[in-house]
Amino acid sequence: MAGFDKVVSSYEEAMAGLTDNMTVIAGGFGLCGIPENLINEIKRKGTKGLTLVTNNCGVDDFGLGILLPDRQIKKIVASYVGENAEFERQMMAEELEVELTPQGTLAEKMRAGGAGIPAFYTATGVGTPVAEGKDERTFNGRDYILEESIVGDFAIVKAWKADRYGNLVFRKTARNFNPMAATAGKITVVEVEEIVEPGELDPDQIHTPGIYVNRLIQGTFEKRIEQRTVRKA
C-alpha cells in the first residue's frame, strides 16, 4: 500500500520543491474552500516571483492576500480581485501583473490543462478586452475566441475528506475550483480535514480520484467567513 500512500507528515514536506518563479494553481472561491495552511507555508518559505492562478486573491490578512506584503506574487490570473486593499495598491502601482480572466474560462483553463487539452474555443469575452490578441473563429455563425489552458508547477487544493490514496471528497460550495486545480498541477498538494483508510470512502461518492494527487496532509482550518448574512430564526 505504500506505493499509493500520499500522506506526508509536515507542511514543509508538503510544499517541498516549490521554488521562485513557479506557477501555482489554487482552489477556492473567496475564502471558501481555500488551502489555508498550504498558503501559510508558502508565506513561511518566502518563495518569490510566483504566478498564481486562482479565482480570487484572499483578503489583506487571510488567504492568498498574505503573500502580498512580502511581494511574493509576480503575476496573478484571476476573475475577481476586489476585496483587498494591498492588492489594489500593487496593481495600480504596476508592481503586480494582473490577467483578469472570466470565471468560467478560468475554470475551463484548469480543467483543460489537467485533461491534456492545450486550448479551447469559447464565446465568453468575444468583443471585449479579454479577446485582444486571441485567435477568433466562427462556428455555426457565432464568433468564438481561442483560450489556452493552464498547467501549474504546483496545485494547492483543499478537500473535506480523503483516504490515504488521495481519493478526495469535497463539501458543499467549498468544492468550487478545487477539483479542476487538483488535475492541473504537475505536483498536486491537498490538505483535508480528515484522512481515512482506503476502502472507507464509497467509490461512487469520490469527487477526485487519487491519481491526480501527489501529496496529502491533514490540517486544522479557521474557515473564515467573508460575508456573514443571517435571517431571524
Binding site: F29, Y80, L100, E108, N178, V230, R231
Partner: protein, 218 residues
C-alpha cells in the same frame, strides 16, 4: 416616480415562469429572490457551485462551506445540488439557465453591455459576468436609467470596456422597461408616474416610442 430597488426586483419577478432555473447577479438582482410568486417553483443557480439556493441561514445554521457567488452565507433549498466551477459554467455557457438577471454601468442599441470595469477607477474583475452574458439567451439587465447628474446610461455606443457584445435584449431601468432589437431601443413600459418625455430626455441611444406606452403594474 422612479422605481425603488424593491420595485425593480418585483418587476423582474413578473418575468419568472414556473420551472425556471435562474441566475441572479449581485445587488438588485439578488432581491428578485424575495418576490418569487408563491405558486411557482424557481431554482436559483449560484455560479460558485450550487443549484437550488435557499434563504440566508439562521445563526445556528451558518456554514462556512456554504456561500453564494456574492460570498454571503446561504442555505440550500429542497432538491438542491452541488458541483464544481467547471460544471457550473458548463450550465451557464451551455445555455441551460433559463433566465439571467444582472446589473450594468451602460448598455447600447446594439445589445452591448459594459458592467465590470471603469478604467483608472474600478478594476476588480468580471467574475462570472462575461460567461453569463455570453451563455444566456434570456437576460434582463437591471440598472438606473441615468447617472445622478442626468447622464444617460442607455447609449448609441457603450463608452466603457465591454462585458459582452450584442447579447442584451431586455433592460429594466428605474424609469422604463426596454427591448433592444435591430439597433434600436424600444420603449415597452414606463414606471408609474414617469412621463414618456422624461424617458426620451434621458435616453441617448435611438428610442422607438409607440403611441401608447403602458405603466408598469405592481
Amino acid at each position: 416616480m422612479a422605481l425603488s430597488r424593491e420595485q425593480l426586483a418585483q418587476r423582474v419577478a413578473q418575468e419568472l415562469q414556473d420551472g425556471y432555473y435562474v441566475n441572479l447577479g449581485i445587488g438588485i438582482p439578488t432581491l428578485v429572490a424575495n418576490y418569487i410568486p408563491e405558486n411557482m417553483d424557481v431554482m436559483l443557480q449560484s455560479e460558485n457551485g450550487l443549484l437550488g439556493m435557499g434563504p440566508f441561514p439562521t445563526d445556528e445554521e451558518i456554514d462556512a462551506d456554504l456561500i453564494n457567488a456574492g460570498k454571503q452565507t446561504v442555505t440550500m433549498a429542497t432538491g438542491a445540488s452541488l458541483f464544481d466551477s467547471a460544471t457550473s459554467f458548463a450550465m451557464i455557457r451551455g445555455g441551460h439557465v433559463d433566465l439571467t438577471v444582472l446589473g450594468a454601468f451602460e448598455v447600447d442599441v446594439n445589445g452591448n453591455i459594459a458592467s465590470y470595469m471603469i478604467p483608472g477607477k474600478l478594476i476588480k474583475g468580471m467574475g462570472g459576468a462575461m460567461d453569463l452574458v455570453a451563455g444566456a439567451d434570456n437576460i434582463i439587465v437591471t440598472m438606473t436609467h441615468a447617472s445622478k447628474h442626468g447622464v444617460s446610461k442607455l447609449l448609441s455606443n457603450c463608452t466603457l470596456p465591454l462585458t459582452g457584445k450584442g447579447c442584451i435584449k431586455k433592460v429594466l431601468t428605474d424609469l422604463a422597461f426596454i427591448e433592444i432589437k435591430d439597433g434600436k431601443f424600444y420603449l415597452l413600459e414606463r414606471a408609474p408616474g414617469v412621463s414618456v418625455e422624461e424617458i426620451i430626455k434621458l435616453t441617448e441611444g435611438e428610442l422607438v416610442v409607440p403611441e401608447n406606452v403602458p405603466e408598469m403594474q405592481f
